[in-house]
Symmetry: C2
Amino acid sequence: MTTANEMLDQLREKGSRITTARRLVVSTLMGASGHVTAEELAATIQEQHPEVHLSTVYRTLDSLEKLGIVGHTHVGHGPSVYHVGVTHQHLVCEECGAVIDVPADMLEGLRDTLHAQYGFELHIGHFALLGRCALHPHVQTVRISP
Amino acid sequence: MTTANEMLDQLREKGSRITTARRLVVSTLMGASGHVTAEELAATIQEQHPEVHLSTVYRTLDSLEKLGIVGHTHVGHGPSVYHVGVTHQHLVCEECGAVIDVPADMLEGLRDTLHAQYGFELHIGHFALLGRCALHPHVQTVRISP
DNA sequence: TTAAATGCAAAGAATTTGCATAACA
DNA sequence: TGTTATGCAAATTCTTTGCATTTAA
């Protein structure tokens, strides 16, 4: 589990500086339910620290993403949501059985959509995604007009 | 399979009018590889018909989406891609076995991402997505700090 | 003829960037 | 002290909208 301090440490190790704004972004993100927009984050922070600008929030989130400890997801239209942490998903080739590991945040969009639309909690890792790997693509069938 | 003429017919049935711009949007979309942005569509059309405006393309795509015969997907950042046709995906509740049908375009984003990132062709319908339905959500465990 | 669609320009929403100033290390 | 980060404003990108004009039915 990533704690706020561990996240700040990772920034420090990268050579970044720890500022009030960054401390606030990190702790607010950790305190949030899991998926927040940059604007929501900024609004929460600005209740106590109105000087922290939205662009700073975006820049801090960007730095954290480059560290791989934060991700963002496009949920339909509107702004992206940001979240902490990483997990995995498996892709299995139906032809050769090859297994490809995929970071869970590639499924965040689907997860959010299914939850929003159906109240369905997607359990990734509990299933594999089937298909064809790059080495064994489907042969495309051309449909002749009848 | 939906043909360009069938799509125009559906617009007509809805009480819409068939214009040159709409004919062009429909036929260009059908002729496209499958996933095109509004701008790409407009650019292609404008090679022959420079008077067709991007906003008209957006409006036509919008009408077709409301008919349910066109969908658009957010693929990462950048503009959305538009495509024709509909399929289904099944969600299965691990607790009660309930099955929920989901239109395939909810998985288009995932499909595009997996293909772009891994060259993996996702075969939806060949697998079910497991999880918890709205009636049987997971109880959230609160982690006490150690 | 008349309601619907178009072209254009301008507005909107989300995010990024340039730059002078502030502040961490 | 020397970068790095910030705040602000302005620019960008994608999409939508208002409105006068054109066009299909």
